[in-house]
Symmetry: C2
DNA sequence: CGGCAGTTTGATGTTACTCAATTTAAGTGG
DNA sequence: CCACTTAAATTGAGTAACATCAAACTGCCG
């Protein structure tokens, strides 16, 4: 719940992996520039990765929000995951140079790219890197499986509640939350594309939540009014 | 399409991983018994793994069909994956002793269990094992992401067509298919729970497919009558 | 022959989608 | 500070997709 041990609080938080690869250099002062690692600032809304393209780098989101998605030919879009600071775009991207998803910045964001070969050689040399990646892999697959249950079995209301809870946990794992107010830079269309309903229906459902005093959502801030009720509706198990 | 190179034809086929761990011993004659690996025969319908329980072994399905699923308290069930011969239950199970899903045998099946510690030490020693596991990991996450797109965006008809195509590809990767006839030991309820619609609706949709001469499904055999039409309906991209 | 599990069919209800109009909010330039 | 513009959210009415319930049907096995 605090930010002392982000990895334990939220195994999805991949800075553990990033730190391991970088040899815990985060705390060091200025260093010799590394040619296999760079940072890039991306404006809000810009596409960072395009599905089916090849990338020599493994990306980690350092600052801001992004999302991983697939866009179909007829315009339908499924958001696979929201990326938060510290998130590796995908474990698969460490092994596959071709991306099977696209990525966009939701807010202005800062992205770190590391040469894949360099990451792999560190993986071969350093068991701590393997362990960090394994943890991220487990968290990622467990998360995908949860999402499959939600998309396959849950009603629209349940899905939206689940998404909010899921993001709340992940946000809380990397910053202190006070008064049930979470930074939340999504548009309703993003929620819609993540849970597989229309934006109109998201609006109606959020409206109902607001009327029932469950959650309230405006201006990029999510206010949780009744955490218990939200969990009753949307939590797995 | 043939069985000369199952890994290439279907990266999901994890025997590559299994072989790597076992040191390519599949072709050898009788050997000294290994205390860290065993085989077990499971009757059709039996549960092999229970969600939230701990297992000291990593499982691979050797013979028969199974499926990986999550059952909710109110009875709803989401099938996450059908397991075919050669499939590792999950990459996550190599790193996590607690299972986040349950597994049942669909037909009579044979399961191989390997001690997790033993698998991990082989992983540390042998780069080929790491490579095999990395391939399986990539295939698994790509597959989960595809499924999220399908569950989130596709109609019932599209979902069912997708599932059939997906299984057909995987079946074809491990056995020769003649005359568009695939072994297919699923009940309609399994299809329903995998794609997130009711069994009644699956029945209607398959009935429509039959009437339109797309596919036909009875007695544990799937007959594909119009592959093109099936792909037009259900294939991604 | 009877029983059982699975499938099919029909009738009806509910959820969520579509289309379109309206309102709100957030800039932007004068 | 205020008109103007634009993106996003809300609301209503009508519709399509899918769920639910219940009954009938099929094939299989003891």
């Amino acid at each position: 719940m605090n930010n002392l041990s982000p990895c334990a609080a939220c195994p999805h938080y991949a800075l553990g992996f990033c730190d391991a690869v970088l040899g815990h250099s985060g705390d060091a002062g200025p260093e010799a520039p590394k040619r296999w690692q760079y940072h890039r600032v991306v404006p809000a809304g810009d596409q960072i990765v395009a599905r089916n393209h090849r990338y020599p780098d493994v990306f980690v989101l350092c600052v801001g929000w992004g999302f991983r998605f697939v866009q179909l030919a007829d315009g339908r879009r499924q958001i696979l995951q929201f990326l938060l600071p510290g998130d590796l775009f995908s474990v698969a991207s460490v092994f596959e140079e071709r991306a099977h998803f696209s990525v966009k910045a939701l807010t202005e964001a800062q992205v770190s790219g590391m040469r894949r070969g360099e990451v792999k050689s560190r993986l071969a040399e350093n068991p701590a890197v393997v362990a960090a990646l394994a943890r991220t892999c487990s968290a990622e697959t467990e998360c995908s499986d949860e999402m499959a249950v939600v998309l396959g079995q849950y009603s629209a209301e349940e899905r939206i509640a689940f998404l909010l809870l899921h993001l709340m946990r992940r946000i809380a794992a990397r910053s202190v939350i006070r008064g049930g107010q979470y930074p939340f830079p999504l548009r309703q269309q993003h929620i819609a594309d993540a849970v597989g309903v229309t934006a109109v229906h998201v609006s109606r459902t959020l409206g109902a939540f607001r009327d029932r005093g469950v959650v309230e959502f405006s201006n990029g801030v999510l206010r949780v009014l009744d955490q218990n009720e939200l969990e009753r509706i949307g939590s797995l198990n």
